[in-house]
């Protein structure tokens, strides 16, 4: 029996409903678990990544470790690039 024949006899009346139920179950469990996660600190840290462009090299020594530069500090530049 060909794959096409098998698929043809499978019947697809409940296909959409089954797909929906599977998805909702996965979605609900994902949401439930996500909101029970205890890694709040790490998530908050991850959420702040866009606000950290990196440490300008010139200030790095003075600022020490763990002092990310703000956007405005980025102009403390080293080299120039011809336009």
């Amino acid at each position: 029996m060909s794959l096409s024949a098998i698929m043809g006899h499978a019947g697809l009346a409940g296909y959409a409903i089954a797909a929906m139920l599977i998805f909702i179950a996965v979605f609900a469990s994902l949401m439930w678990r996500l909101w029970r996660m205890s890694r709040t600190g790490r998530l908050e840290e991850a959420g702040r990544l866009p606000l950290d462009d990196g440490r300008p090299a010139a200030r790095a020594a003075a600022a020490g470790a763990g002092a990310p530069a703000r956007e405005a500090d980025a102009s403390a530049s080293m080299r120039e690039e011809a336009r």
Partner: protein, 732 residues
């Protein structure tokens, strides 16, 4: 464990280039959009020139705004944010350059081919095979550059914006390749590997997911990066962003069939598309809420900052469009909205409001940073741009919503005797003219806003220093010690590990996308009962095939559908509803998504014979004379442009390669085409038309139009001819 400190700089040069390209193509794409909007009011604006007709310019507009404006804007945002989120310069400056110039070359190629009729005839996938290959190559270059940057990053965690970029790169590659499988039939001519129902399914899987993964996921990534930047606070909920990402990536893929409700697509696929479309509402609004709540405690800034205004309105339009999308996917709503301007209004609410405003917000934010000025040239001009464009969008979408609902209701309206209340299609067109005028006004305002924005950013660019500074940053090198997933499956330690491993994460995104696709694709292609065979359906003759190619080249599907839906209002107006088995030789399918003119699937039986041929001839010359009020442009060049008979054999051979049973035509296609052309031309002459049309394009088009939908005999009831206002009055 201490790490070595590394110094690096970012490649902002490529970002600046993409910003400039975004501005240029944005104005071009919107201007073409305005021109075609005006052509719907004044068709003479095509000036009887082939390359200025609505059918040819509309794909130029859509391609320009999607792939040139949003595409370049997306690349600008990706290149800027990815480097900073990964604490690494792009993998290769050379690849960045190839990506930029390659993409611009593709855009120029599109601009040089689409107006001249080189098209595959599939929405948003019109570009012909050499350009398709170029797109694939440039996309691979982009992917190598992006993933190479991930590989050399100095930040372990992949921020959520990067997940959206990864999903974009993977999924667009898959969609582009599988929707553009073709057999080559000439230097700029190809036929889709798929036909009819399967081609429609693949095309709308592509079309829908191009919206999802080109116009939504990368823009969401940009939102998750630039909105916190502009608001100077982190995203409201990182948890919600995880949920947003995975549900969106998994569900979007399934929703494509909602573009084909009540067509010849199998019912199960249609239902599946609808259900997943409705469920899409959840993650989409999760994302919208996450975006808006990022501004918690910072709403006072919105009042003062035009950039935040752009972002807030963009996210609001995202929410509105992603509510409207599921609504339109509900079958009963779709029965009214499909083929009307409602869909066009919906698309533009997303394009102008969501994509356009995110792009402009991002460009305004980037401009002073990239051009290293103290600020924007003029904040007031940015405010003016915002308000002009916002009013423009509102006028635009309200006009098209009104037009769509009006049109849908008029098409299905019956009088007290059970007859169509508006049997002449043109009546519904004429009713829309005032709304088209308001739409054009809205579009003009939006374009005006864009021009103000371009001026403002260019003036900012003029304030740049003599030489750009290149800040140097430093960060510890990333050590790849093993991070074990803590806890069980449901502890989400595994997700934490994925987030840190670019390759693993990418593989799982690909698995999510591919598995969801296969759930629909396998049954669609394998179940024979999806497309019941109809013995009377035969391949097009060589001349009809050539005529069909002209139909495709002219972009007729931009205004005319070839799909009579199984509704009484449609079968009364057009004839028997369309069957899946009627399209098995249609490479590509031409069902269309819009009816600016009437459906043509039963045209062959409506206007048969020599009188029908003469009608078509005169209609091509001057549509408004044959159908008063028609907004179709004239096509006088069909009568003077010769048929390229020498090209026909190769096209028939290509179709035969696709499995179309051409029999004798494989050996003598040109001869057969000449014979049929002579017969059609003789018939036209006998009916009182001009002589000597036997080698002109018009006979090929007429041969095709008189063939469409005739394989099922009796598909148009007796007396179901096209009615003029006079004949309708007489019938009453």
């Amino acid at each position: 464990m201490s790490s070595r400190i590394e110094q690096f700089s970012y490649n902002d040069d490529v970002v600046r280039k993409f910003v400039m390209a975004t501005l240029l193509w944005g104005v071009v794409g919107m201007l073409v959009g305005l021109i075609i909007a005006l052509q719907l009011i004044w068709p003479s604006l095509s000036f009887d020139l082939p390359f200025l007709t609505f059918g040819r310019l509309r794909p130029l507009h859509t391609n320009a705004v999607i792939f040139a404006f949003v595409g370049n804007g997306m690349f600008a945002g990706v290149y800027y944010s990815a480097q900073r989120l990964l604490k690494a310069r792009m993998f290769s400056d050379l690849l960045s350059g190839i990506h930029f110039w390659g993409w611009q070359l593709i855009i120029v190629s599109a601009a040089l081919t689409l107006p001249f009729g080189f098209t595959q005839g599939k929405e948003y996938a019109e570009l012909e095979w050499p350009i398709d290959i170029a797109i694939a190559v440039v996309w691979v270059v982009f992917a190598v550059n992006f993933f190479g940057t991930i590989a050399k990053r100095r930040e372990r965690h992949l921020y959520v914006a990067l997940w959206f970029y990864i999903a974009t790169i993977i999924t667009i590659a898959i969609l582009h390749i599988f929707n553009n499988l073709w057999v080559i039939a000439g230097p700029l001519k190809s036929y889709s590997l798929y036909s009819g129902v399967q081609d429609a399914f693949m095309q709308w899987c592509y079309g829908h997911n191009a919206v999802a993964f080109f116009l939504t996921t990368p823009i969401l990534g940009i939102m998750y990066y630039f909105l916190p930047k502009a608001a100077e606070r982190p995203v409201f909920s990182y948890r919600l962003s995880i949920l947003h990402f995975w549900t969106l990536v998994f569900m979007y893929i399934w929703a494509g069939p909602h573009h084909l409700h009540y067509t010849a697509l199998p019912g199960w696929a249609s239902t599946l598309g609808m259900i997943f479309s409705v469920m899409l509402w959840m993650p989409s609004w999760g994302g919208m809420i996450n975006g808006l709540l990022t501004l918690r405690g910072a709403w006072h800034k919105v009042a003062e900052d035009p950039i935040l205004k752009f972002f807030v309105v963009a996210v609001t339009f995202y929410g509105m469009s992603t509510f409207e999308g599921p609504l339109l996917s509900v079958k009963t709503v779709n029965a009214l909205s499909h083929y009307t301007d409602w869909t066009v209004g919906h698309a533009h609410a997303g394009a102008l409001g969501w994509n356009g405003f995110i792009a402009f917000g991002m460009l305004y934010w980037l401009a002073p940073r990239l051009f290293q000025t103290k600020g924007l040239y003029s904040k007031k001009l940015a405010e003016l741009h915002f308000w002009v464009a916002t009013v423009g969008i509102l006028l635009y979408v309200v006009a098209l919503y009104s037009a769509g609902v009006t049109q849908g209701l008029m098409w299905r309206a019956f009088d007290q005797t059970g007859r169509l209340l508006y049997p002449d299609f043109v009546e519904t067109v004429l009713r829309l003219e005032p709304m088209y005028l308001v739409r054009a006004l809205g579009g003009t305002l939006y374009l005006l806003g864009a021009v103000i924005g371009v001026w403002n950013i260019l003036m900012t660019w003029r304030m740049r220093p003599a030489a750009y500074e290149v800040p140097v940053y430093e960060a510890p090198a990333l050590t790849f010690e093993k991070e074990r997933a803590s806890g069980g499956l449901m502890s989400f330690g595994w997700h934490r590990v994925w987030e840190g491993k670019g390759l693993t994460f990418t593989v799982w995104v690909a698995v999510a996308v591919i598995s969801a696709s296969l759930f629909e694709i396998i049954p669609t292609f394998l179940i024979k009962s999806n497309v019941p065979t109809i013995a009377s359906v035969k391949p097009y003759t060589p001349l009809e095939l050539y005529g069909r190619d002209l139909y495709v080249a002219e972009g007729c599907h931009n205004c005319h559908s070839q799909m009579v839906r199984p509704f009484r209002a449609e079968t009364l107006r057009y004839g028997e509803y369309s069957k899946p088995g009627e399209f098995v030789y249609d490479h590509p399918f031409q069902w269309s998504s819009r009816r600016i003119g009437p459906d043509l699937h039963r045209e062959g039986e409506k206007r048969p014979g020599t009188s029908g041929a003469l009608w078509h001839l005169e209609h091509f010359r001057d549509p408004a004379r044959m159908t008063p009020g028609s907004i179709m442009p004239p096509y006088p060049w069909f009568e003077s442009t010769p048929i390229d008979f020498a090209a026909i054999q190769k096209r028939v051979d290509a179709m035969a390669l696709l499995g179309v049973p051409y029999g004798d035509a494989v050996n003598r296609a040109e001869e057969m085409a000449r014979e049929q052309a002579a017969r059609v031309a003789t018939g036209i002459a006998e009916a009182g038309g001009p002589m000597n049309l036997g080698d002109k394009q018009v006979v090929a088009l007429i041969a095709y139009l008189q063939r469409i939908g005739t394989d099922i005999k009796g598909s148009v009831a007796d007396g179901q001819a096209v009615m003029t206002p006079r004949s309708r009055a007489e019938a009453r």
